[in-house]
């Protein structure tokens, strides 16, 4: 790959998504963009980059979309979702007993599994929430991921990664091509394409934000900015879930760890008493 093709493509990715690509990631760029090269019948990666340079906005968006790592799973890492069910939901039922409304944002939701895991957890706790309104919003930069999320149709492999068999039987219907999520859970979630480099306050305030396995790819400044925006969009007693492999240490003072290993953080405005009540149960 010509060095200035790499430079151009890497800069495009960084500007549009915050994704950092170091020089050694040339192979990744080429691998991920090959489908775009083929789809648009370019003869080479170089030709694609030449077309991107002309400023073709639709092509640029497809390239950025294609470049995103979209790996995800239902109940990814499992334990954070146990914490959500056992600790956060009961806290919310208590703290929001007047308003009877709570809102969850999945930022960087990819193909929807994360948001639907939240929805199934809430649905399973339904007795606590009768008469409540739960709003779950999933956003992602990638229009293809958001389209898949809205379709809520998954392969047999997808529905086995992290999803308990009982949840599969309860919430999905099998068809020839895979498994379709039933409308009771599907209707609990709204999806939107959204770039997290832009403001997120138009999405409103949230009681819980999941932004898992998104920041690992972002450059430091984008990470700092995003955490700042998230802290402003979270309620004072709100909870942030990051990936289990992305510690916040040294990146943001706006949050305090509830459980670093599980990637669970509380807003710093919080007093100690509430914080300790967020502690992870020892055994579940």
């Amino acid at each position: 790959m010509a060095p200035d093709d790499f430079e151009y493509a890497a800069r495009l990715m960084k500007e549009r998504s915050g994704l950092v690509l170091t020089r050694d990631k040339g192979y990744l760029l080429e691998n991920r963009l090959m489908p775009v090269v083929r789809q648009h019948k370019f003869k080479s990666f170089h030709e694609l980059v030449a077309a991107l340079r002309t400023g073709d906005a639709a092509l640029q968006s497809s390239a950025v979309d294609a470049m995103m790592a979209k790996d995800t799973a239902f109940f990814r890492d499992w334990k954070p979702f146990v914490h959500f069910a056992k600790v956060v939901l009961p806290n919310i039922t208590h703290a929001r007993r007047e308003k009877k409304l709570f809102r969850v944002l999945c930022a960087g939701v990819s193909t929807g599994q994360e948001a639907y895991s939240v929805a199934m957890t809430i649905r399973d706790a339904a007795q606590q929430f009768s008469g409540w309104r739960a709003e779950i919003i999933g956003v992602d930069l990638s229009p293809t991921a958001i389209a898949a999320a809205s379709n809520a149709h998954y392969t047999q492999f997808d529905v086995q990664r992290g999803l308990p068999i009982k949840s599969l039987l309860r919430s999905f219907t099998k068809d020839d091509a895979g498994w379709q999520l039933n409308s009771d859970v599907r209707d609990m979630v709204k999806f939107q394409t959204w770039n997290l480099l832009t403001d997120i306050y138009p999405l409103g305030r949230f009681d819980v934000i999941l932004c898992r396995n998104v920041m690992v790819y972002l450059d430091l400044q984008a990470k700092i900015d995003l955490l700042q925006k998230i802290s402003r969009s979270l309620a004072d007693d709100g909870v942030l879930y990051l990936g289990t492999q992305e510690p916040l240490t040294g990146v943001s003072a706006a949050f305090r760890p509830v459980n670093r290993d599980l990637g669970i953080y509380a807003v710093h405005r919080l007093d100690k008493v509430v914080l300790s009540s967020l502690a992870v149960p020892q055994k579940h």
Binding site: D77, Q156, F157, Q160, R161, L169, K174
Partner: protein, 122 residues
Amino acid sequence: MKLCLVVDDSRVIRRVAAKIVQDLGFDVEEAENGRKALNACAIRMPDVLLIDTEMPELGGIATAQALRKMPGGDKVVVVFCATENDPHFIRAALEAGGNEYIMKPFDSEIVRSKFLLLDLLG
């Protein structure tokens, strides 16, 4: 170390499953049908039974039912691992004593995530 008994009449599948479960930190024993599995359980009760449903001599569902009646057999985590993906069949298998169900074909990530949610991994 926890013990996982892998039961399948296909030697290839037993090997693949055994390798995955070993990598998750389990001791592994293998059996090629339900009857041999129950014999193995009588000698040393496993922590986890990863078992196919369709096998000659004794299938997985009958094996699970028999296991549940053995001393200590109620504590074993039973994970069915079978080709059948019909929801009615799966439901029946769970009612007969299964804790989880994996549909073939499977891979290491599926097994890992199912073991994680069954609280089997440290």
